[in-house]
Symmetry: D3
Amino acid sequence: MRICFLNPFGTDKYDGIIKEVLSSSLRPGTALEVWHLDAGPRNLDYFAPKQLVQVEILRAAKAAEEAGFDALVIGCLYDPALTEVRELVNIPVIGPLESSTSLTRPFGHRYAIITDHHKAVPELKDRMRIYGTDANCVSVEAVGWFVDDMIKDPMKVADDTFRHVQDIMARTGAETVIIGCTIVSACYELAFQRGDKKLGELSVINPNLIAVKSAEMFADMHRAGQYRISRTAFYQNLQDHDPIEAADVASYFQNQPATAAERI
Amino acid sequence: MRICFLNPFGTDKYDGIIKEVLSSSLRPGTALEVWHLDAGPRNLDYFAPKQLVQVEILRAAKAAEEAGFDALVIGCLYDPALTEVRELVNIPVIGPLESSTSLTRPFGHRYAIITDHHKAVPELKDRMRIYGTDANCVSVEAVGWFVDDMIKDPMKVADDTFRHVQDIMARTGAETVIIGCTIVSACYELAFQRGDKKLGELSVINPNLIAVKSAEMFADMHRAGQYRISRTAFYQNLQDHDPIEAADVASYFQNQPATAAERI
Amino acid sequence: MRICFLNPFGTDKYDGIIKEVLSSSLRPGTALEVWHLDAGPRNLDYFAPKQLVQVEILRAAKAAEEAGFDALVIGCLYDPALTEVRELVNIPVIGPLESSTSLTRPFGHRYAIITDHHKAVPELKDRMRIYGTDANCVSVEAVGWFVDDMIKDPMKVADDTFRHVQDIMARTGAETVIIGCTIVSACYELAFQRGDKKLGELSVINPNLIAVKSAEMFADMHRAGQYRISRTAFYQNLQDHDPIEAADVASYFQNQPATAAERI
Amino acid sequence: MRICFLNPFGTDKYDGIIKEVLSSSLRPGTALEVWHLDAGPRNLDYFAPKQLVQVEILRAAKAAEEAGFDALVIGCLYDPALTEVRELVNIPVIGPLESSTSLTRPFGHRYAIITDHHKAVPELKDRMRIYGTDANCVSVEAVGWFVDDMIKDPMKVADDTFRHVQDIMARTGAETVIIGCTIVSACYELAFQRGDKKLGELSVINPNLIAVKSAEMFADMHRAGQYRISRTAFYQNLQDHDPIEAADVASYFQNQPATAAERI
Amino acid sequence: MRICFLNPFGTDKYDGIIKEVLSSSLRPGTALEVWHLDAGPRNLDYFAPKQLVQVEILRAAKAAEEAGFDALVIGCLYDPALTEVRELVNIPVIGPLESSTSLTRPFGHRYAIITDHHKAVPELKDRMRIYGTDANCVSVEAVGWFVDDMIKDPMKVADDTFRHVQDIMARTGAETVIIGCTIVSACYELAFQRGDKKLGELSVINPNLIAVKSAEMFADMHRAGQYRISRTAFYQNLQDHDPIEAADVASYFQNQPATAAERI
Amino acid sequence: MRICFLNPFGTDKYDGIIKEVLSSSLRPGTALEVWHLDAGPRNLDYFAPKQLVQVEILRAAKAAEEAGFDALVIGCLYDPALTEVRELVNIPVIGPLESSTSLTRPFGHRYAIITDHHKAVPELKDRMRIYGTDANCVSVEAVGWFVDDMIKDPMKVADDTFRHVQDIMARTGAETVIIGCTIVSACYELAFQRGDKKLGELSVINPNLIAVKSAEMFADMHRAGQYRISRTAFYQNLQDHDPIEAADVASYFQNQPATAAERI
């Protein structure tokens, strides 16, 4: 099974850490490639650049499908272009916010999210409201780091997050906490893997792993003919409505493949 | 006062009808220009092409601000790129779904929406849930027309809509109905203006007019220093976080101005 | 255009400040008269006297309609008798709570309300729940002033409010704050107009202005035949059900006109 | 124990039927007096006359407290002036909508309400939303009778209601149904008492009885010092804030006692 | 009237305090027997033992019905086996959480719950969500006592609770507070009865009394043929679906009667 | 990896069909054993027998953990004893209702559930409300079969379900449908596997498979030390609070192991 984990950043700087923290938790037989974008803005923290990035994600998703991947993970808790990509391609597509907020109850009764920075908070709340996964969420907060800075000091990010997790549990009654940013979570797991064992004692949810495991699950179901996605409206492809217009639109998504980076 | 009504379609075919139905309801002193896009796909009914259109909307919004408009209306009930444009520019930006669903209670106790086609229904429901305007909405349904076909027979669109409005009221208890597509509503008002008076006897909400009147209101408040938009997070501009990155992103939005079409 | 702003207080003490803070933000051609009640209790802070006041508001609304106003603003955030007046008269009627809580999203992602005193808090929460505008509201709190005291020291009211706005934003994540009392908001804007410029730097929503601008909007739509209020149930007038009973009831609302106070 | 059941109608026409249907279900030792109003409009179906009626209810409540009743039932499913009366008097005050919608779960999983006429539907929905009792309610509908007509043919009202109850259960999945109008319910119980036994086989909730039984309960608790109503805000009496103003307001509620009608 | 108050604990240690605090508030003619379980685990704080206890409660309920009681109160705020018992027996069955959270509005606008210990908090929240009584609840918290310890120092429990009530009111805006554990509430009322009068000055809701008064109410209605419980689905007895299977199941509930303890 | 699929029925009649429909969709390396209960009532359709069954489920879960399974699936859409079992054991425990309602969005925008019979409907609604997975669910309905009958004619069950799925989609706008009963779903998949290909063309969600795949996912995460379940409250084991009491309770769950049936 081949899974593409797409870092929706216009840089290869985060490919290594994602590969490193996920490799030990994969099941045998799963090959994970970490991709990044090679066009568009580097970051998608703000809404205007995010629009540009989402176009690149659509292109990368099309490329991943053509490259034969069994499933695609969009590696950012904004789940950027998640619905759009599902409309466009046929392989299962996973967003870590959707999958991690959907699977909190086996971890605890109420959950909280700690994301990276203040700009992300309202966007996450909006998406969770659409997903219908906010009923058991008691708080969405930011640890206060932007990705460009995190990569310079992942241990500090992990430490700040560890303390924020404890604090949010004490204040809000959350029993479990999603580390709501792929890179913050990667920093946290990296510190844990490097020996900071106390990080593993808190009930934190690793959205990178949840997303990859969900990708495995949906890829399995897809192969078995059991991922019966509805193409009646929400995920209906333009092809089913107007093939000529669809062909025209398709041309926009052909020319800029993302770059494969790290294969696990 | 100059208001730009942006038809987010890659064609000038709908500029005329929008101009025609709005001109009689404007207040003296309001100049309305109807713009359309001249790049990207013609339609935004499906999610993948909509992403491309949203980039063009951001470019057109930047152009409208530079052209000195007092406010911008994004002329589609998807409110495409509404949040994104508010982040990017300083003039008031109005989306007809946000403004019309916010102002239903003076029309009646519960409301319904009749939009154009089946693909739009889930998207409208999602956006209303984010806006927090769904509490008094009892149904979102589609009349079953795509814009490319509407323009060929606006009177038939109006007639279908009139019957659907009566039906949805009887079935759901909705007291008032938003005609939830700018072009469907324009067809409806056109038929009314051309003499089909029974159309004016139902409690229907015209989102084109609500949007333009809201644009006037916010432009007035903006001039008076009373549109104190918060720039702390949701609408914070990238410029406030990272001017260098902002300059880089800005370059993406400079080069493809929309074409002004009809000035009222 | 003539708009009646009805101070639902049995005193003329607040007419001046309302006139003063609104006059500079009106559009040319809008004539605003500030009325107050001349019967019933002076204040409507408590529920029992509020019932008496609401009868007087119905009388004043009937008088305002007969005096030819294009729209009526009920000048209190309780929106006292808002639904009742809409049932009784044909001109557009605006309540500042309904209109300001409906229009928060262009100001920010989540909002809070700071009202005058503790007695108002549950009432505002109840009304917002009915309006369906509470989904994006994170807190309703009181600054701790009653109107009788405010008028003696408006600058102190403004200062307390300014500090409470900052505090509520920091505690709750509200990005924008409605000053949820017409007189508290008037004190705030008065202080701002008199030179305390820092008050204008916070994202606060002025419900007096929102209400008057909404009155202009609905009056415009009413003239254009586009305020198609539903008279099927919620706003159905007794006249449509039983003209004889309606005539009997009408007699209760004829005899005590409010007094026009300040014409802008 | 003495309970006052106040018919908030300006007529004695409904006193008899209320007395008749309740008398057999009271516990020994409970004396029930049925009052009506002798000022104000006869009916409170519409919002404007309801305001006038609510002032009369406040007067009647004050009179009932002074007459030494242990509890007051406001005999209409609008719960007119319920909150206002609780603020004004110290004896327990019961509204049949509040009490019956609060006690549905012992009757069934989901419930519906059948009220009298179309005008009542939105008002009931609004009140239930405030009470927080709408979560398990699946529908609020009207059987289509006004009180003035009901009294002429109570058996027909009962029959229409019986059929509507069966229909709403089949359509909506409601397991139990509140007969959401005191007079419709009284007609239903009257027909049942007169021998139409099939009416007793449906799971219908009698709000008149629920209200009277709740009045007994709260009067018992009041006597035992266990009805510890909070007077901090929602039910705070004006007396606690401003005794002088309270004395002034009190004068409005002194002069028009309701007329005692039927003592059981 | 005979009411059985079942302490769902495998010990008689709490029977005395329940009897003591309730006896003075009963109405004349109500005979209250306090039962406890004599099989199964002593406590039901944790989910696994609670399952065992719930089987014993079903047995005790069957025994209580056979013993001729008019109503049964399950004496624990978890409302353990409430729905299950209602399915099994025909007499009214009351759970103190269901009844007390249903009747908060006559006490105040918003309420909070203070339960015994941390393990109870999520369970109470879940049940309230099912009941649909959480809309006006602002917080559920624990005072931090387990029943085994409470009985050793009831005055300390009362004192801790008194302070927590004041604190939760100040922090959350709750106007009234349910003491959300039968034994904590009994300690509170015991301290009050023994002379600590300040405890009676807070707006606290006594769920033991509410439950018993509700039992009286429903028993009265049952006798009058007015407790028309729906047996269509939620409370449908197995007997109505499959008498043979029902007979088999019934055998499980016959053999272990609870022990009657204290008769008031 | 060894997964135990526990049919919570006191019969081995359903073990074969579950084994048959799941075997082709498992991933290599997953060994699935289907267990059933050998004590307690045969069915858990009604609440009282379900309590007895839940005790047996706790015993079986304890036995499964001791038998070395990596994860346990409780094979019924009631998710009987799900929370209780999670409290008691350390291996991951999956309920098909929780997992399937959590993972609907990748299948479509809104979903419905078709369960077996009328008695199940309210229970499923209650559980979904607790899980917080009801926001995107538009209807829960029953196809009208009890398990004892299904096994006699699985093809008829599949056919009835197929038609109900189409009907519910047309009526409610659901884009995807959970077949909300393990045996109904097994009948459906059996018919599909035997060649009724049209059944695979609808967007139906197979909760048996979703549950087993979720069990694989959580077992993988458990092995990797990444299933960090919170033991602070909701899932806190009695052992952590009171080891002596825990030992006493444990004795209840030791003596009646379920019988392993079919190993795939």
